[in-house]
Amino acid sequence: MRFVDEFRDPETISRTADEIRRLADPARQYRIMEVCGGHTHAIYRFGLRDVLPPNLELVHGPGCPVCVLPMGRIDDGLAMAENPGVIFTAFGDMMRVPGTKGSPLEYQARGMDVRTIYSPADALKLAQKHPDRHVMFFAIGFETTAPSSALTLMRAKALGLQNFSVFCNHVTIIPAIRAILDSPDMRIDAFIGPGHVSTVIGCRPYEWIAKDEGKPIVVSGFEPLDLLQSIVMLLRQLKQGEAKVENQYKRVVPWEGNRAALRAMAEVFELRPYFEWRGMGFISQSALRLRDSFAQWDAEQRFNAPGVRVTDPKAAQCGEVLKGVLKPAQCKLFGRECTPEQPVGALMVSSEGSCAAYYNYEHRKTSMNYG
């Protein structure tokens, strides 16, 4: 077993893997989806699929907030930054994601003021440092990140800062899961719930998955043993015909979530009626926008954005990979026209994208064998 020597507790890992094999009914095909990009990464890194029985498949969900953003939104953000005096700021993950006319990094090479920052608080700091310029922050992320954007906007308001705005592309994880369950080409038996998103939203938001859809969900930590234990818990539920929310990551995730974070989000943001997700079409109530009380700091209201819908290049199958219908290697462009060095879509760029994870762990391994 690959990497098993690195595991802190190899005997427990072995025993847990054995229990998985005992619990898995050989007459059944199991499809378990992990939603969060960090879990996808851990599964590949720790070679966990080698440890699982062949009738248990792990399907990667759309837990990569950079990956699910349609190209048109990137174009919008860059178009806004083309206004004179604007400084375009975003996290490092965004910088190489292609828009129609290039990525933020490519725009920088063509003369736009583009700066990588590591915290929304630093976009605000930049605005304070450069009162003669306008700092626009391209905000992305799920509920792990949205509270920090919210607090930053509250601080901007308290300061009465005039030269700062946020282009809000925060998305929410629950509607994405709902869309997957509603999708006719998906069959998912159970879910591994996200780790750090859940420190913010807690476990309650997942209850409808169990109650209404009848699917078990276990919120998991990131260690190999955490993930394997979570799979054991899911298989036990499936065996007993149960469906409930369980928290395997109790040591970090509180059932009620972080109330201050939830309050900050509620004060600053409201749900958009709908938002387009790459490859998944429009999903209702799946993304955040600034409330009217924060209109002054809403980049979409301060600047004109083209708002053009841009579809992915025809050959790219980003949408199907995001939904878990295709494995990364099944996309026609994978490893050929689309690599981490020259990405066609965001799934190959982002550290949480399943194509990047697959490429870095599996593809290189295979090509090394034939090298």
Binding site: G92, S119, N258, S351
Partner: protein
């Protein structure tokens, strides 16, 4: 990055935001505590950090485990790059600085 970064609170900072000087593997930067005020964070506490904000307090054991996970996933370099980038790459002014001794903050960024 959806994985949060563990750090240890060194001291609370005297600015108007609720923030602290936090140490992550030897790098010290300002981290906003506004999301965990209700947990009454104090020097010596370990916290989980994401984009410059503390999301929750955690035990030292879980903090060290989280560091290990980041290393095993090869995410530790990106995590340290993130932390070094906080505050636009500068260490914050400290309460403990002498009044008259306005020495330069931190070093070159990045």
């Amino acid at each position: 990055m959806c994985l949060a970064i563990p750090g240890k609170i060194v001291e609370l900072l005297p600015d108007s935001c609720r923030s602290a000087l936090v140490d992550v593997a030897g790098v010290r930067r300002r981290v906003d505590l506004g999301l965990i005020e209700e947990e009454k964070p104090a020097p010596g506490d370990w916290v989980l950090i994401h984009v410059g904000f503390a999301l929750s307090k955690i035990s030292e054991e879980d903090a060290l485990e989280q560091m290990r996970i980041l290393q095993m996933l090869g995410e530790d370099t990106a995590a340290m790059e993130e932390v070094k980038g906080y505050g636009l790459g500068e260490e914050p002014e400290r309460r403990s600085q002498e009044p008259g001794d306005r020495s330069q903050n931190g070093g070159p960024s990045g």
